[in-house]
């Protein structure tokens, strides 16, 4: 792990993750939460990371922020502005955290300190990284509250977190994240705990924060709808790996990995004619302890063949472009719709008859 020579670094390349792996030792063995993830984030870009619970989407960014527990086994490299951040001491990474990269978590009530006013916590974020007076920091705090759309920012700066609603608190967290004009904002499920109308408001604040700071965004979520509206590029994660990566249009209109296609088919859609049945992906994600060889999606994949069970596919470009998929047979998926591949299982009619009889 050596830092890149300063002269060779591309200034627009903000974050460079290379072959990152994260493992957690447990009584049952090593849980391989992230198994070799590489991606880049460039200035001003917005990148979405989608995946289900346990796919490793949050752990990747926690590793970059140096927020994983000491017991975690991390290998690979993560560079912020060309500088390696993995293995940095807590004091060194604290200079980057909140300054170059800021993070927004799912639950705003646990990320704010209940004992201090929100104005104080905002000012604190400014004071840690800037040489300003307390008065100036407070002024900046009020400015930031106004920017994220909080009404009466002067008064609200004196409020404690419990006095604010969930949506308001999440906007305070966004204001703290943008306090030092970071170049990267990582938002980890920022609206999952919120109602839809409030979600729309919070996403609006996040966009305002980006317009103001020009920061690049990494949006981590399980909600494909939120992804569709707010990012340029998408990484799909499954079992600790990137399984597909491309522009938002690539992923939504021509997915080349059966998992991405299956996710789209599982969604009830408001914008299309009502289908008879959704097409779910059968089975459950694999356990991340002692992963079997082969493609991790193979047990759930309707087009899996012997090759899939033997050899794990790598993320390879499709159509020559930046669109890439980790599937041995991604070329077969050109123009496929979810219903071509996944079938809605039906109930066993005999069983139902049995049940009826017993009554």
């Amino acid at each position: 792990m050596s830092a890149a020579p300063p002269g060779a670094h591309d200034p627009d390349l903000l974050l460079q993750i290379d072959d990152l792996t994260v493992g957690f030792p447990t009584d049952d063995g090593l849980v391989q939460a992230v198994r070799g993830v590489s991606y880049e984030l460039r200035r001003g870009e917005s990148l979405g990371i989608v995946g289900e619970s346990g796919s490793g989407k949050s752990v990747t960014s926690l590793a970059v922020m140096g927020l994983l527990p000491q017991t975690a086994k991390i290998t690979g490299s993560a560079k912020v502005h060309g500088r390696e951040v993995l293995g940095l001491s807590d004091a060194a990474i604290s200079k980057i955290r909140g300054n170059d990269i800021a993070m927004i978590f799912q639950d705003p009530l646990t990320s704010l300190n209940p004992a201090f006013t929100v104005g104080f916590q905002l000012a604190e974020a400014v004071l840690v990284h800037r040489e300003v007076t307390k008065k100036e920091a407070h002024k900046r705090a009020v400015e930031l509250l106004d920017l994220v759309g909080i009404p009466f920012p002067e008064q609200r700066a004196h409020a404690y977190p419990h006095e604010l609603s969930g949506g308001m608190r999440q906007r305070v967290v966004i204001a703290i994240a943008m306090a030092n004009n970071p170049s990267i904002i990582i938002a980890d499920e920022p609206t999952t705990a919120l109602d839809v109308t409030v979600q729309a408001q919070v996403m609006e604040s996040l966009q305002a924060a980006r317009r103001e700071t020009g920061a690049a965004l990494i949006l981590i979520t399980h909600d494909l709808g939120v992804i569709a509206g707010h990012v340029d590029r998408v990484n799909v994660m499954y079992a600790g790996m990137l399984v597909e990566s491309g522009t938002v249009d690539d992923i939504f209109y021509s997915p080349r990995m059966p998992y991405s296609l299956g996710l789209l088919g599982s969604l009830p859609r408001m914008d299309e004619a009502r289908h008879e049945r959704l097409t779910p992906i059968l089975g459950t994600p694999p356990s991340l302890v002692n992963m079997p060889p082969g493609c991790p999606f193979a047990p759930r994949c309707p087009m899996a063949e012997d090759l899939c069970r033997e050899q794990e596919p790598e993320l390879r470009p499709v159509d020559g472009g930046p669109h890439a998929a980790a599937c041995h047979f991604s070329d077969r998926l050109e123009g496929a719709s979810p219903a071509d591949l996944f079938k809605a299982p039906t109930l066993d009619a005999d069983l139902i008859a049995d049940l009826e009889e017993q009554q």
């Binding site: 408001q201 569709a228 969604l267 914008d271 289908h275 779910p280 069983l351």
Partner: protein, 345 residues
């Protein structure tokens, strides 16, 4: 609808008239004096028909789960009536209620909290059969069949809930609810805790069970896209009141209440091109406290129409006069003085 007579319309299984539920707010300290009331449900009337799925949607705290519990008499009503097959449930004693419970079952949101961790799956599913004295008559086989019907391996009956994933646990909850062959199932956010790929399988299971077993569902959810997929009719709640109801087609093709419009337009669509170009109706602020709801129309404090389109004299009506749920044709009811249908998806 404000009729107070017991409904006699054919095909209605479960109906509620003018349901009201107030929860006391108590002071701190020893005495715990009552200092106010949360108006959780205010004058809600609903009809659930045979073999129908009625979606009840709204944001957190709007009273949708409380309404569901009132319908099953799981909590006492403050006032109002619930009728099941012509019988009034609100006046029944616990003993009188028990046989009715066979027909009315519920599936809860959290598949982790709703299953006893110290019982095996077979015991969990057998429990309702035992309570109603039906287990001795081939109960073991019934439990095996139930497990298979909900898509679980009957060999796994002697395992404990923690050995199953979230989706599988929700299926166990469904099997338990099905054990007594109910006629009505209340599904309280049954798929909200599940990942998308798992959620789709559970939704399909509900649909198939309904077709095969002629069930009626009250589907309580905050997720409009799921509700649109599964429901035949939809009722939208805001701050303890139903503000719009109609068939799923009516509601989604021509939402008339500004709140319904805002809800529909706030749901992100998994389609980047549509998402970039669609019309958005944003509401401002948060849901007001149900302890002290606004006068007149309860939605006016957040209503984009009230804020941007109405003249001051129009607004007076919203402030002073509470809009009632009125039929705007073909059973599509909405409670807004200035309702106007809009197509948003």
């Amino acid at each position: 609808m404000t009729t107070t007579s017991a409904p006699t319309g054919t095909g209605t299984v479960l109906s509620a008239r003018n349901l009201v539920k107030h929860f006391p707010v108590r002071s701190k300290g020893l005495i715990k004096r009552k200092i106010g009331e949360v108006h959780a449900v205010c004058d809600v009337s609903l009809d659930l028909r045979e073999r129908e799925t009625l979606g009840l949607v709204g944001e957190s705290g709007c009273g949708k789960s409380t309404t569901a519990r009132l319908l099953l008499s799981l909590i006492p009503v403050t006032s109002g009536e619930v009728h099941y097959q012509g019988k009034s449930l609100t006046t029944l004693s616990r003993a009188e209620m028990r046989p009715v419970r066979r027909d009315l079952q519920i599936v809860f949101q959290d598949p982790f909290a709703s299953l006893d961790p110290r019982m095996t799956v077979s015991e969990i599913i057998a429990e309702p059969l035992r309570i109603h004295g039906l287990y001795n008559d081939g109960g073991r086989n019934k439990v095996r069949d139930l497990l298979q019907v909900v898509g679980l391996n009957p060999e796994h009956g002697n395992r404990y809930p923690h050995e199953f994933s979230g989706g599988q646990r929700q299926r166990i909850g469904v099997a338990r609810a099905l054990a007594l062959r109910p006629k009505v199932m209340v599904l309280d956010e049954p798929v909200s805790a599940l990942d998308v790929s798992i959620q789709a399988g559970v939704i399909n299971l509900f649909e198939e069970l309904q077709e095969e077993l002629d069930l009626s569902y009250l589907f309580v959810s905050h997720d409009l896209s799921v509700v649109r997929h599964i429901a035949d009719r939809v009722a939208v709640m805001y701050l303890g009141k139903i503000i719009e109801e109609g068939t799923t087609e009516q509601l989604f093709a021509a939402a008339a209440h500004p709140y319904t419009q805002a809800l529909i337009s706030a749901i992100p669509l998994p389609d980047p091109r549509k998402e970039r170009t669609r019309q958005r109706i944003l509401v401002t602020g948060d849901v007001p406290s149900p302890v002290n709801p606004p006068s007149g129309c309860r939605f006016r404090t957040r209503c984009p129409k009230f804020a941007n389109q109405l003249t001051d004299s129009d607004k007076q009506r919203c402030i002073n006069e509470e809009p009632v749920l009125t039929d705007r044709g073909h059973g599509h009811n909405s409670a807004c003085h200035y309702a106007e249908a809009l197509k948003l998806v």
